[in-house]
C-alpha cells in the first residue's frame, strides 16, 4: 500500500495513542511520581536469558554499548540513591522480536515505588488500564472493566486450566512428569523454564484475562529474574504478570535487593547464555552496589503499545504505531 494512504489509515489510532500516553503521564504526575530519563545506550543491557540486546557501537570509554532492553538497572541506581517514586516512559529495544504483539523497538512504561508492597503496583496497573481506556475513548466490547481485575496465583491458574499441582521447587524431571501426565508434549524441553512455558502456553495462557483482566501472582522461584523470594514460601517469588484480552501487558517484581543473591543469579544467567551461544553482557557493578541501599521496593514494566492495543481493541501492534520495523 502507498505510505500516505497507510499512515492516513492509522491516524485515528495514532491520535488515540497520543491521548493514552498523555493521560498516563498526567496520572503518574498526580500520583507524585518523578519522571526520569536514563540512558538508552548502556554497558549492561540486562542479563535475562531470553532477552537479546541490539548492539550500539562503542561508548566514549571504548567499551561496547547496547540499546536497553528495559531501563531497570539505571532506575534502580536512582532508587539506591534515595529516589522513591520514579517513572520512565521511553523506548526499549529487543533483538529478534516481531509478531502481532512484538516489535523490536517499543514504548515501555517502567515505574517503582520504594517502600510499597507488590499489591500497590497491581493497583497502579489497574488504575492505568482504566485511564488508558477512558483516554482512548473507544472501549473494546471484549474488555470487561465493570468490576475489579481478577487476582490469581500461578499455582491456581495452572491447577484450574492444566489440572497440574505445581510446587515451584520440583526437579526438572518431576515437572516434566507432571506436564506429561497432563498430556503436554515436553520432548526436547531440557530446562525448567522451557518445560514450564510449554505447559503454560499449551494449556494456561490462552485462558487468561478473557473479558476481565487477570493478575497472576507468585511465580515459581526458577522464574524469579530480579524478584525477591516470598518470606512465607521461598519456593515462590514476588512477581506478577497482568493479562488482558490475550495480551501480556505488564511484569512486576517485589525487587530483589540482596546483592549477593543477585550476583549469583547474574552468574547463572551468564553461564546459560554462554552455553546457548548468546552474547554475554557485562555485569553492572554499579547496580549491585546500589541494591543494598534500596528500601524494599516494588516495580513494573508495562508495554505501552499493548496498552493502546488493549484500549482500542487492536489485534496487531502495527495498528498502533506509525512505522513498524519493516516500514522504517
Amino acid at each position: 500500500m502507498d505510505e500516505g494512504a497507510r499512515l492516513a489509515g492509522r491516524r485515528a489510532a495514532l491520535e488515540a495513542r497520543s491521548r493514552v500516553v498523555r493521560a498516563a503521564r498526567a496520572w503518574f504526575e498526580g500520583e507524585g511520581f518523578l519522571e526520569v530519563e536514563t540512558p538508552a545506550r548502556v554497558r549492561a543491557p540486562g542479563q535475562e536469558i531470553h532477552l537479546d540486546a541490539i548492539a550500539s557501537g562503542a561508548g566514549g570509554d571504548g567499551n561496547d554499548r547496547w540499546l536497553v532492553t528495559s531501563p531497570e538497572y539505571h532506575m534502580k541506581r536512582l532508587l539506591g540513591a534515595g529516589f522513591e517514586r520514579i517513572v520512565q516512559i521511553g523506548k526499549a529495544w529487543r533483538a529478534g522480536e516481531g509478531g502481532p504483539h512484538h516489535q523490536p523497538e517499543f514504548l515501555i512504561a517502567e515505574w517503582y515505588r520504594a517502600g510499597a508492597p507488590l499489591a500497590a503496583i497491581a493497583d497502579d496497573c489497574e488504575a492505568l488500564v482504566r485511564v488508558a481506556v477512558r483516554a482512548a475513548g473507544a472501549p473494546s466490547p471484549a474488555l470487561d472493566l465493570s468490576g475489579p481485575f481478577e487476582r490469581a496465583t500461578v499455582r491456581e491458574v495452572v491447577r484450574r486450566h492444566a489440572g497440574v499441582s505445581l510446587d515451584g521447587d520440583e526437579t526438572l524431571e518431576a515437572l516434566g512428569a507432571k506436564a506429561r501426565a497432563a498430556g503436554v508434549d515436553v520432548a526436547g524441553r531440557d530446562s525448567w523454564d522451557d518445560v514450564f512455558f510449554q505447559l503454560w502456553l499449551d494449556r494456561v495462557e490462552p485462558q487468561l484475562g478473557r473479558g476481565r483482566p487477570t493478575f497472576v501472582f507468585d511465580w515459581p522461584a526458577p522464574l524469579g529474574a530480579l524478584a525477591r523470594r516470598k518470606i512465607e514460601d521461598p519456593r515462590l517469588v514476588e512477581r506478577f504478570e497482568l493479562y488482558a484480552n490475550g495480551l501480556e501487558l505488564a511484569n512486576a517484581f517485589g525487587e530483589l535487593t540482596d546483592a549477593d543473591e543477585q550476583r549469583a543469579r547474574f552468574a547463572a544467567e551468564s553461564e546459560t547464555r554462554a552455553r546457548l551461544g548468546k552474547a554475554v553482557y557485562a555485569v553492572d557493578e554499579k547496580l549491585l552496589a546500589a541494591l543494598p541501599r534500596m528500601r524494599p521496593t516494588s516495580g513494573v514494566a508495562l508495554g505501552m503499545d499493548r496498552l493502546v492495543m488493549l484500549a482500542l481493541g487492536a489485534a496487531d501492534i502495527r495498528d498502533v504505531v506509525a512505522f513498524a520495523d519493516d516500514e522504517v
Binding site: 535475562e48 536469558i49 531470553h50 532477552l51 529478534g96 522480536e97 516481531g98 509478531g99 502481532p100 504483539h101 512484538h102 526436547g188 524441553r189 523454564d193 522451557d194 514450564f196 512455558f197 510449554q198 503454560w200 502456553l201 499449551d202 495462557e205 511465580w219 522464574l223 529474574a225 504478570e241 501480556e248 511484569n251
Partner: protein, 188 residues
Amino acid sequence: MYDTSDIRKGLKIMIDGSPYTVIEFQFVKPGKGAAFTRTKMKNLLSGGVIERNLRSGDKLEPANVEVKQMQYLYPEADMFVFMDTTTYDQVSIPTATVGDDKNFMPENINVDVLFFNDRAVGVTLPNFIEQAITETEPGFKGDTSTGASKPAKIGTGAQINVPLFINVGDVVKIDTRTGDYIERLSRA
C-alpha cells in the same frame, strides 16, 4: 531440516509422521521465557487442524510433498487418469483418494494433485465449476424468489439442489466445497 525461523504460511512439515501445512503462526514470548511460535497446521492427509507451540530453535522435518497442476482425463476401472499439464506425464489415482470430490470433477478439468513421498494422496478442485443440467423436473416460469428447490443432475452424474426455475440444459455455477448451487450462467 527447518527451524522455527523458517515457519511461514504454506510451509510443509512432518509432525508425528504425517505431512502438515502451516496455516497460521504467531511469535509469542511468555513471561520472560524463551520465544515460541504458536503454529496452526493442517494435516494434508486427513484435513485435521492442530496447534503446536514450537520453541525457538526446534528443528522441523520438511515434508516431501509437492503440488502439481494436472488435468483429469477419464476414469479407468477403479482409477482416475490425470495428465501433468507441464510434462504431459500421465498418472493414475485410485478413486478412493479422490473420494466424493469425483462428483464435481468433470473430464478435462484442471486440478491440483498433492504428492506425498511421490505418491498422489489428494486432489484439490477449483472452488467453483460450471456444469450443464442433464435431468430435472420442468421449471416453473417466474418463480425466482422463493427458497424452494428441487433435485437436478449435472454432467458428472452428481445430484444437486437447484431453484425451481432451472431447466435441463441450463448452465449453472456450483461451489465444489459444499456442492451448493450458486447461480445460473446461461439458459438452455
